[in-house]
Symmetry: C2
Subunit: 408 residues, 2 copies
């Protein structure tokens, strides 16, 4: 990328710096990415993105999760458009809310009911509130380093957060049964629940699938205490298994929090739950002005039907494995140590001996110049719109990236 080619992005960043604090907020801030990455995007189609300077990328971030079927997926867009012409934000829900809840209950063996929100954080926060309402207790066990949202109780930053916002959280290590039991002992008879990510996908470190033993221990611990096992499916949901990610382990949660991919990019989240939590879920007060919006629900219903019909998790796992195998081969060819961890459909690619992910940054910046959008520290995402040709293009760009890393 030469200095001229990103002039539209540069100009927009300058305008943004005047009217948006820091020019951008949160996880989509391009300052956290290697030089050359665009901040602003013009267009998306399938698995491809165009930035405001007209550069086209094969995209492996998928909007950081939401883009599961591809941008402008015809079946999703048609369902959304049909609902839009009738009504979106009305004085109450449309029929599609019931259809969507029925669809989730039919798909998810753990779920007797569903309710809907906008943000993943709304869903995780609602899970905690339901668990506390159901048990009359306060303590919630959270894995150290796990991300469950960007509000005071969950935020990875403590700035503007008070100690009381986290007063009733106790921490355990993911996949460490002893630490989970120790945290439960500390909670004593005040244990409301355990929240756990579908798998460990913390920023900048190797991913980890939960062991069956850990999942079973979490389930048993909650059963013994009468506490709620809460699965945070916000990031992983519908990419690992259409019945819920822990179906792979044979363990069912009491509550699951969903968002990101369930409406293929439209703003929606959901909590699904077991029968024993139906009544407390009905008695707590949670709401939002747009939570009944019918268009995102229509998009979600269409998305979930496609996910199930086409077995999207299997499709993207196969593509993810092609990518993973190709990357492993490319790294070997250049004599580079590469760690690829977690599910293939949500790749995490980290270089050995790479403090600060400097190698990762060179690799990604180089691949970007060859038209492929990777991330050096965060897990990536496959979509059903990716093709074998996209994987081939990614591996070719990755080859340039490995060469650049090997040359440093």
């Amino acid at each position: 990328m030469d200095a001229v080619s990103n002039s539209a992005d540069t100009a927009l960043r300058a305008r943004a710096a005047r009217v948006v604090p820091g020019g951008m907020w949160g996880h989509l801030h391009a300052a956290k990415l290697p030089e050359g990455y665009p901040q602003f995007f013009a267009r998306g189609e399938g698995a491809h993105l165009w930035d405001v300077d007209g550069r086209r990328f094969v995209d492996f971030m998928c909007s950081w999760g939401p883009n599961l079927l591809g941008h402008l997926h015809p079946e999703v867009e048609e369902a959304a458009e049909r609902q839009r012409r009738m009504g979106d934000c009305l004085n109450g829900p449309a029929e599609v809310m019931v259809e969507l809840a029925e669809q989730l209950v039919a798909m998810l063996p753990h779920a007797a009911w569903a309710m809907f929100q906008k943000n993943g954080t709304d869903a995780t926060t609602t899970c905690l509130t339901i668990a506390r309402a159901a048990t009359g207790r306060r303590k919630v066990l959270v894995a150290r380093g796990a991300y469950h949202g960007a509000v005071p109780w969950a935020s990875p930053s403590l700035l503007g957060v008070t100690a009381e916002d986290r007063a009733h959280l106790l921490h355990y290590e993911f996949n460490d049964i002893d630490s989970l039991r120790a945290a439960a002992r500390e909670a004593g008879d005040d244990l409301a629940g355990v929240i756990v990510s579908a798998f460990r996908h913390d920023l900048g470190r190797d991913q980890e699938m939960p062991t069956v033993a850990f999942a079973v221990a979490a389930r048993e611990l909650c059963d013994a205490a009468g506490a709620a096992l809460m699965l945070d499916e916000v990031r992983a949901g519908m990419r690992l298994h259409t019945g819920g990610s822990w179906e792979l382990l044979g363990v069912r949660p009491d509550l699951s929090a969903w968002s990101k991919a369930i409406a293929n990019g439209r703003a929606l989240s959901a909590v699904t739950g077991a029968e024993w939590l139906r009544d407390p879920a009905a008695r707590i007060f949670v709401t939002g002005s747009f939570w009944c919006g019918a268009v995102p629900m229509a998009a979600a219903l269409a998305t979930l039907r496609v996910v199930q019909r086409d077995d999207v998790p299997a499709r993207i796992e196969r593509l993810g494995r092609m990518l993973r195998d190709g990357l492993a081969e490319g790294a070997r060819r250049h004599g580079l140590g590469l760690r690829q961890t977690g599910p293939a459909q949500m790749p995490m690619v980290l270089f050995d001996d790479d403090p600060g992910a400097r190698k990762g940054e060179v690799f990604c910046a180089t691949a970007l110049r060859h038209g492929v959008y990777f991330h050096p520290r965060h897990n990536m995402f496959l979509s059903a719109a990716h093709t074998e040709a996209d994987i081939a293009a990614a591996l070719e760009a990755a080859g340039h990236g490995f060469a650049a890393v090997a040359a440093t």
Copy 2:
């Protein structure tokens, strides 16, 4: 309405009861409305709604605020559709985010910057986090009985909420300067800010505009303490004044929280702020998967341009006054004491001597049978799509309602 005419709604409620806790959640639950009110809606157009049984209503709830210009407003829909064809949820924002922030900064004299979220609650919570980050203090003064969201720190229900979630809130009475100062004294040198609704619009009680003296006292108190004055515009925003509701009082907040009407029904909220809060706003971590969604931003930009061009607050105030005058006349004719309080464009209509709003329920249920959707306890909303014919229809239906109340 006879028993047969709401059969589709009844059937959907039965289906919903199986898959949604309580059949519905939050403020849109029809159980809080008089008998005969539908839970489910099929269609919206302008200021009119159709329920799933084909009944048409002139609507005065406006989706509880969001519907400011009318459902399917052509300019808003065209802007949203143009953006949708390009991209909505991408790997970063689209140009429209900058344009929208520029528009808000241009419209709002208090604002040097803007940032965007999904829920009104996201915006109020972000305000508190910014105030705490900026001051390094914890206490926030909140008006007793005010609604600022449905998360643990703000929820009107304590079920599932811990004491610590509200540990740093101190309460004052709206429009009561002494109580505000007393709360500030209690906060001492730990005062981060004061949050206040644009006007008092608590459920089931007379509305109250802030007095100039109260607004000035809040401003002076915050200035003296170096604390942030936070205006909750979620409900009132863009209905009272296009420059912010407190422009009517000549007092400017440090932070404002916006949502509901700003994108005419699409999911969006915003925080706008003064220059001295730009840096802390950039340093806190707040984010969401859909916060950069470009379609709601395109809708918001179109909405705000129409609001300003057509001086929507003036238009809906005029229509609201027609409604208010007509209702007052109708109540007088039937010898009924009626209190209509707050801004005319957000009507609150309460009967004298009416514990539990029983008269209000009879009035509303009767008006509903005559095709007009009122609310017996909550403030209502005018939209720019309402016409004089709609007001005339409302007054005719209200006449039947008053007669029914007089006959009880």
